[in-house]
């Protein structure tokens, strides 16, 4: 079998666990401890994970971070397992399933009565926003519990191999992967109770969360909840858009930078915002050919410096271009792209075929805020922030008392702002729990100034305008 694992990388070192073996459709597959099932299959060139339920279309993974559920398979007899967040284990039996998977033959294992606990703060999501909120609250004496679905925390920082922009005082120039480690270390030091591999199932009245942990169902009664659930990648409608080989940019990053597996040999990048440009560059660093970056707008969207890195490596960027269809039957074998006119209509005669085995979709993100909606928070569509976002106070509290948001789930921006918003929420929670102090109010002022700094300039215009549209002038409640 082929091996798509990266052995040498200019920035990253991949620490793989010991070699293990599992069964996929009766075939033995080699994996390394620490890989997810999806990553291990992909590393071995197995890209078709399942078949769609009505149209019987081949499916691979898409988001690779447990959000889209495109990668579900039957694992050890249990159907609908998200293989992109499930660690691979020795001797595991993994099977594809189609429309209706086989019902598990064994009686579900006994699970103990749901354990109920009373805690101060629950934070959902272990990225820069969630960790930052948890750290501040815990440092000031709160009993903080942080839940994350992934086995390791740090959110999307862990796959950011580039140096961060922003102020050198706010960790610019540091790579995301190092930032994640710093935050985790600080969280542990501050006494945050970290719950990796734990899924929050829902919000229930009076700030109660139902959580699925490795020990079964758990109920947390809290005094305050922070939703730092991040974002979901936007999907794009075009012919054959669900073929294995078509992945979200975040999915490509996860595979490549977290698990050290190349997504393919030749990648077509759709979208030229900073995500598309940065992931394009990271693909080159991993030794993958980026055949072209296409962008529907007349100009590329990201920073010129990011575009220049790609151009310097010989990658063409085609503006006013879109994808018409993906080619291939079981997986991507190419793409047809064409030019768009000023009315977004295809220009006849401009169609061209590109050879590629991966189409990477980087057409923006939208906030992942199901939980905030479950809690009954008032929402508003704010185009500038990527979609529906909760109405919030300056301290990032939603219209539901004690329910806060931070980071991309409050509106799409970038990691530095997410961390700062998390800190701000942390301060607000400390005030709520223990009353205010000079130290806390000073800190809040500093953080707010920091956020304002990050939103300056032409690239900050969108979030600046967006945040205004959904932030209440005065404190509610």
């Amino acid at each position: 079998m082929e091996d798509k694992r990266i052995r040498e990388h200019p920035v990253l070192e991949f620490e793989r666990g010991h070699e293990i073996h599992f069964d996929f459709e009766g075939e033995e597959v080699k994996a390394y401890k620490g890989e997810t099932i999806a990553a291990a299959l992909y590393a071995n060139g197995l890209v078709k994970f399942t078949e769609s339920k009505h149209h019987h279309r081949p499916r691979g993974f898409f988001c690779a971070i447990g959000k889209c559920s495109s990668c579900i398979m039957t694992v050890n007899g249990i159907p609908h397992v998200r293989t992109c967040v499930t660690p691979v284990e020795e001797g595991m039996k993994v099977k594809r399933h189609g429309a209706l998977p086989e019902f598990p033959k064994e009686v579900p294992p006994s699970s103990p009565e749901a354990k109920e606990s009373k805690v101060d703060i629950a934070v959902v999501g272990g990225g820069p926003a969630g960790l930052s909120a948890a750290i501040i609250a815990a440092q000031h004496g709160a009993d903080v519990h942080l839940f994350d679905e992934g086995d390791h925390q740090g959110g999307q920082l862990v796959k950011q191999t580039h140096q961060f922009f922003g102020s050198h005082l706010e960790e610019a120039g540091t790579r995301g992967i190092d930032l994640a480690e710093d935050l985790l270390r600080e969280a542990k030091k501050a006494g945050v109770n970290l719950h990796p591999g734990t899924t929050v199932l829902g919000y229930y009245p009076e700030k109660t969360l139902a959580v699925e942990s490795k020990n079964g169902l758990e109920i947390y009664h809290t005094k305050g909840i922070v939703y730092a659930t991040g974002a979901v990648e936007n999907y794009l409608a075009f012919e054959n858009n669900d073929l294995p080989g078509i992945y979200g940019a975040g999915g490509v990053q996860t595979l490549m930078n977290e698990y050290g597996i190349i997504p393919g040999e030749k990648v077509l990048m759709i979208g030229s915002g900073n995500v598309g440009l940065i992931v394009g560059y990271q693909l080159l660093q991993a030794g993958v050919d980026v055949v072209e970056v296409i962008e529907a707008m007349p100009n590329f969207g990201g920073y010129q410096v990011h575009a220049s890195k790609l151009r310097r490596a010989g990658v063409p960027i085609s503006t006013a271009h879109t994808i018409k269809k993906a080619l291939g039957t079981d997986r991507v074998e190419g793409a047809v792209v064409h030019v768009l006119d000023e009315d977004w209509q295809p220009v006849p005669g401009t169609e061209r075929e590109l050879e590629c085995d991966v189409i990477c979709i980087a057409v923006g993100l939208h906030p992942d805020n199901q939980f905030v909606r479950q809690a009954g928070a008032e929402m508003k569509y704010v185009r500038e922030l990527g979609g529906f976002v909760p109405i919030r106070t300056e301290d990032m509290e939603t219209t539901v008392e004690g329910v806060f948001v931070a980071g991309d789930s409050a509106g799409i921006e970038e990691a530095t702002v997410a961390a700062l918003e998390g800190k701000l929420v942390g301060c607000a929670l400390v005030e709520r729990l223990f009353g205010t102090s000079d130290e806390i109010s000073d800190m809040k002022e500093d953080i707010k100034a920091g956020i304002e700094q990050m939103r300056k300039g032409p690239y900050g215009e969108y979030p600046r305008r967006g945040v205004k549209l959904c932030t209440l002038d005065e404190e509610v409640c």
């Binding site: 140096q163 102020s167 920073y303 010129q304 220049s308 310097r312 900050g460």
Partner: protein
């Protein structure tokens, strides 16, 4: 302003260049950063305070006379947009940021690339600096190519 937002390629008109007089005096920085993005590690990297900005979103303002061409900023710029040119030697040299594998060695012959990734000439590597995982590679280039060469490709 040229059409760099369509092409991703800056023209010489977009860039602040040191004067011919300054070029004769010693190595000097060229910063190819033309947008108001919130970023300032170059300011902190400069030991001579020759790079400054009032607001974090300002375009870096360069004091070419204060710059000593030390190239410390080359590896600190997250945008990989900083270069150092030296026209006092023959051939001239240019220091470019580099984050790929393999890393070229001192003395090695590599292809010098322009802003579109096209090969401009074969160049000898005269110095390899690193800060973290970002390298600053100094290449020998012909005088007429100092405003063209902005990257490199290892020949191996």
């Amino acid at each position: 302003m040229t059409d760099y937002k369509e092409t991703g390629i800056l023209s010489l008109d977009d860039i602040k260049k040191p004067s011919e007089d300054r070029l004769k005096k010693g190595p000097v920085v060229v910063i190819e950063c033309v947008e108001n993005i919130p970023c300032d590690p170059c300011v902190a990297a400069c030991p001579k305070d020759a790079i400054s900005m009032d607001e974090i979103t300002d375009i870096p303002s360069i004091d070419f006379d204060g710059c000593i061409g030390c190239a410390l900023c080359v590896t600190e710029c997250p945008g990989l947009a900083i270069f150092v040119v030296d026209c006092t030697s023959d051939p001239c040299t240019i220091t470019v940021p580099y984050e790929y594998l393999p890393v070229p060695e001192k003395g090695e012959k590599v292809f010098a690339l322009d802003r579109e990734g096209k090969r401009v000439q074969v160049s000898k590597v005269v110095r390899v600096r690193s800060s973290g995982k970002t390298y600053g590679i100094t290449l020998e280039v012909d005088r007429e190519n100092i405003w063209k060469v902005r990257g490199l490709e290892v020949k191996r």
